[in-house]
């Protein structure tokens, strides 16, 4: 009996995107023969240096750009069609929203665009604003928001129509470690709700923390793809963390291990991650406060 194929949220096949640079036909290849699948219900990280084709790929998924060659489907619908975006929420990199609207008005505007029924709209707007922790600032104009708050109101507008797929393009760009950690928490909450999340970020630690699966692009080409544990976990190796041992105890341990066919490769002091240290020391502002 074979395992059924897991449902796929995004399916990209042989995708190439060229941008014309000059009238003489010189082109820039932003995405080069990319084939990729994003399984439903997973957090998928798309990584790569600047200019590697991440944002172009996302724009093609959203139907904002047409592929030069190849195809891209979202929940089985070609991405160039308007109905492919019915179940997609998108937070662009460094979002800039209508400054003259309040947070509530902004999310309400996008909710109406997405066709959220009027009866449900007010409740839904309140719900997502609460969810991203901006209820205290919901009536303030977006123009007064900090970067972290902009990212969170951006997340609220992306979620207002309860999409199955959420695309986050550099959601923590320019955000301080506290705001970044909160966004990571929100992403993990989305995962528990069964949402599919496609995220790009230069914060590799964040990608490692939240993603089930990653793909790395370089110069438009896919150079690596796989499950996070398979890629970064060292198979056949174990780390033991113990109380400090004296040199004699350490020597005894080496002998004990050698007798059983093992070797002690390295002894080092475990280090806390700097972001965890920072978060443990820095107080977090109450929800909705300016950060």
């Amino acid at each position: 009996m074979t395992n059924p194929t897991p449902p796929v949220a995004i399916e990209i096949r042989d995708l190439t995107k060229d941008f014309p640079l000059t009238l003489r036909g010189i082109k820039l290849r932003a995405v080069d023969n990319l084939t990729l699948s994003v399984p439903e219900g997973q957090v998928f990280g798309l990584m790569g240096p600047n200019g590697s084709g991440k944002s172009t790929t996302i724009k093609i998924i959203l139907g904002l750009l047409d592929p030069t060659v190849g195809e891209c489907k979202v929940f089985g619908v070609p991405s160039g069609r308007v109905d492919s975006r019915l179940n997609v929420g998108y937070l662009p990199e460094a979002p800039y929203f209508y400054r003259y609207l309040s947070g509530t008005e902004l999310v309400r505007f996008y909710g109406r665009i997405c066709g959220v029924p009027r009866k449900r709209l007010d409740d839904r707007v309140k719900e997502v604003i609460d969810w991203v922790g901006l209820s205290g600032a919901a009536h303030r104009r977006v123009g007064t928001y900090s970067k972290g708050m902009l990212q969170r109101i951006g997340l609220a507008q992306a979620l207002v129509h309860d999409p199955r797929l959420i695309i986050l393009d550099e959601p923590t760009a320019g955000v301080d470690p506290v705001g970044s950690a909160e966004i990571s928490e929100l992403i993990l909450k989305l995962k528990t709700q069964g949402k599919t999340v496609l995220i790009t970020s230069h914060l590799l630690a964040q990608i490692e923390d939240v993603c089930d699966r990653v793909a790395i692009l370089d110069k438009g080409k896919l150079i690596l793809e796989g499950n996070m544990n398979d890629l970064v976990g060292q198979r056949g190796r174990q780390a033991l963390i113990v109380d400090p041992l004296t040199p004699d105890q350490l020597a005894e341990l080496r002998v004990w291990l050698k007798e059983r066919g093992h070797a002690l490769d390295s002894v080092e002091q475990p280090r806390a991650r700097l972001d965890q240290l920072f978060l443990s020391r820095v107080s977090r502002a109450p929800k909705g406060e300016n950060k």
Binding site: V82, Y90, P92, Y96
Partner: protein, 282 residues
């Protein structure tokens, strides 16, 4: 809301949501308020012409002056607002967020147009009503001074003034559609504004070239001019100030033809803007 994918039909409702947001953005910009105040100030200043005190001709002068101010500031507002409201979406990347939603680009473009058209409509309504009030006030004053000149009653056709205001609004609608078309393929706000003013001048003056070449030029040139006269709308058709006020009044058939003329050009340039914008890479 997490339903199976179905087709998304064109929606007037979504179009109006974009239009409403565009309108709100425009009226909260200083440019709109500045131009509106300037136009109102200029129209209101026409009351100082009472010093001329040259009877019914004075009323005609005030009317022409008022509509002249409306045309000048209305054209500036239309071009500046259309270009600004379009490029603010592109440059601030709010277009990315909207177009990543299930919305047709046609709805987006026509929503932008309707929003600007509404803004210009408010501008035309306010300046026209102000002008009507001013003329009414001045006509009363002149009637009291020279009752013999008004023995057949009032000389101003106030209904025609309102119709004239509507025609100017329609003309600005054509100008907004032209500006939107230029913006749909242009890369910068400045290029759009310059090209749109260039088009405004051509549309105002094209009748001169048409009249001149129709008399003297060779057949191919005459045909070329004729084709160009179809491509560029003739804005002089909207200028019916000679027929309002003290004249015999507006011919309703002519008004309807001019309104239809405007509607056709709005549809054509709006359609071209949509066609161009659909293939634009955001």
């Amino acid at each position: 809301m997490s339903t199976a994918t179905v087709g998304v039909p064109f929606s007037i409702s979504r179009l109006l949501i974009v239009a409403g947001n565009t309108f709100l953005e425009a009226v909260r910009q200083k440019l709109f308020n500045f131009l509106l105040l300037l136009a109102i100030g200029l129209v209101a200043s026409a009351q100082f012409f009472q010093e001329f005190n040259f009877g019914s001709s004075e009323l005609k002068f005030i009317s022409d002056f008022g509509f002249g101010a409306m045309v000048f500031f209305g054209s500036t507002l239309t071009i500046a607002a259309t270009a600004q409201l379009f490029f603010s979406e592109i440059e601030n990347r709010t277009a990315l967020t909207i177009l990543a939603k299930p919305i047709w680009r046609t709805e987006f473009i026509f929503g932008k147009f309707v929003g600007v058209f509404a803004v210009v409509g408010v501008f035309c309504a306010l300046t026209t009503l102000l002008l009507v009030g001013l003329l009414y006030h001045r006509e009363n004053a002149i009637m009291a001074l020279h009752p013999d000149a008004f023995e057949h009653g009032r000389v101003i056709h106030y209904g025609d003034l309102l119709v004239m205001g509507v025609l100017q609004w329609l003309k600005f609608g054509v100008l907004a559609a032209i500006t939107l078309f230029i913006a749909s393929f242009s890369n910068t706000n400045l290029y759009t504004v310059v090209m749109s003013f260039f088009m405004l001048v051509i549309c105002h003056l094209q009748y001169l070239a048409h009249d001149a070449y129709a008399q003297v030029a060779s057949l191919p040139l005459r045909l070329l001019v004729r084709v160009l006269s179809y491509i560029f709308p003739n804005f002089q058709l909207f200028n019916l100030t000679d027929q309002i006020g003290i004249g015999a009044g507006l011919d309703s058939g002519l008004v309807l033809r001019v309104a239809g003329y405007a509607a056709i050009y709005i549809a054509v340039f709006g359609g071209l803007a949509v066609y161009s914008f659909r293939s634009r890479e955001i």
